[in-house]
């Protein structure tokens, strides 16, 4: 096969892969009503995905808040604008770092766990067994996890930002000595709840959908071997992360292009 043929084949394979993934997503959407009627399953998944990620998200949020406060202070103090520290930290977190960093952490923690779980279920023929019992594995296994992920992500992102702001307050007010009143009041006048907080929440919902769908797809389509599952979890993290960063650019351009 010469170079052109190979290129053509690879492109076609890639297209087929995307089409396959899109069909997969569509079939999952169709099964959402069925999964919602089994609300207990969804709740169990929110616990597995959301609650279990709380520790790392809160810890990271706090750490990022600390560091942001320090770094931004050094930058702002040269312009005599140290009082705006709260505002800068808030906007950085709520608009960008909250959704994006939470998304990346989510892909790493919850995404890989989902991929491995589904992949191993497939390897152990549990999915096939369910099919032969006339139970749709998408509605029973996959979609509850999808809903769990889409519900958990925005909550985690909001908590990341909130904890980050509190952490920044501790560093700014208690350690550096920025005025507490100014810290909050300048923030309160300049941060718009719909434009900044609201758009941040929208971003985190989009990232939640992307990460969860990618994780479930990779797990579902993996080869039923240990190497296959390991490879699939790597792909989940890589693909989710690239999509998050790409979509973040597009969403930021759409949402924040006018001051």
């Amino acid at each position: 096969m010469n170079f052109v043929q190979r290129l053509g084949n690879n492109t076609l394979d890639q297209l087929r892969g995307w089409g396959h993934a899109a069909l997969f997503f569509w079939e999952m959407l169709l099964a959402v009503p069925a999964a919602l009627s089994r609300f207990g399953l969804v709740v169990a998944q929110i616990y597995a995905i959301g609650n279990r990620s709380l520790v790392i998200i809160l810890a990271s949020g706090l750490a990022v808040g600390f560091v942001l406060a320090l770094q931004m202070y050094y930058a702002l103090v040269t312009y005599g604008a140290a009082e705006s520290l709260g505002l800068i930290v808030n906007l950085s977190l709520v608009r960008e770092l909250g959704p994006v960093v939470t998304g990346l952490l989510f892909a790493g923690r919850a995404g890989t766990s989902l991929t491995a779980e589904i992949g191993l279920m497939k390897a152990g023929e549990q999915i096939a067994a369910m099919e032969l019992m006339a139970i749709d594995p998408k509605a029973r296994v996959l979609v509850p996890r999808l809903i769990g992920g889409v519900v958990s992500m925005p909550i985690l992102a909001v908590l990341f930002s909130a904890v980050g702001i509190l952490g920044a307050w501790v560093v700014a007010v208690k350690m550096i000595g920025v005025d507490s009143g100014n810290f909050w009041s300048i923030m309160q006048t300049q941060v718009d709840v719909w434009r900044d907080v609201g758009n941040g929440v929208i971003k985190s919902i989009v990232f939640g959908v992307i990460c969860t769908v990618v994780a479930l797809y990779q797990g579902f389509e993996t080869e039923a071997t240990p190497e296959g599952v390991a490879y699939a979890t790597t792909r989940t993290v890589v693909i989710s992360s690239l999509w998050i960063l790409g979509m973040d650019f597009i969403l930021t351009a759409l949402m924040f292009s006018t001051p």
Binding site: I46, I155, D192, V197
Partner: protein
Amino acid sequence: MGKKGVETLVGLFVLLGVAGLAFLALKAANLGSLTGADSYSVQARFDNIGGLKPRAAVRSAGVTVGRVSSIVLDPKTFQGVVTLDIERTYNFPKDTAAKILTAGLLGDQYVGLEPGGDDKNLVAGETIAQTQSAVVLENLIGQFLTTQADDAGSASGAASGAKK
């Protein structure tokens, strides 16, 4: 852990999320001061609004009494028409002056209200008659240079002509 336990924890998780969102919206953003229910609108016209933006503060004696709700250009007079939402608890006399001021040296711009002495108060929908536009830096520099040039001209004129 039993099913009830899981449900409780998930409920707490969601509650935590709502609390976080409420914190962000109220304490860390401007939702608290966006309540427009108990406010009334008046208008003010400026030749130049400078850097004034919607949702900027309206202050009197430094106290925030309202918000700028919209800014549009009047196509006939080519003035900027600024709509102010003032809280109902504050009433200002009809001859109140509105100035566009800057908070601090490099801060954001806001509308300052200086009350007059009229017996009657401003009512919703009325227009503030006395306004002072924002200070535009370029104009200020231009003025300064012109004054300098004048002084230099008159100084040399005085030096070469009769004493003052």
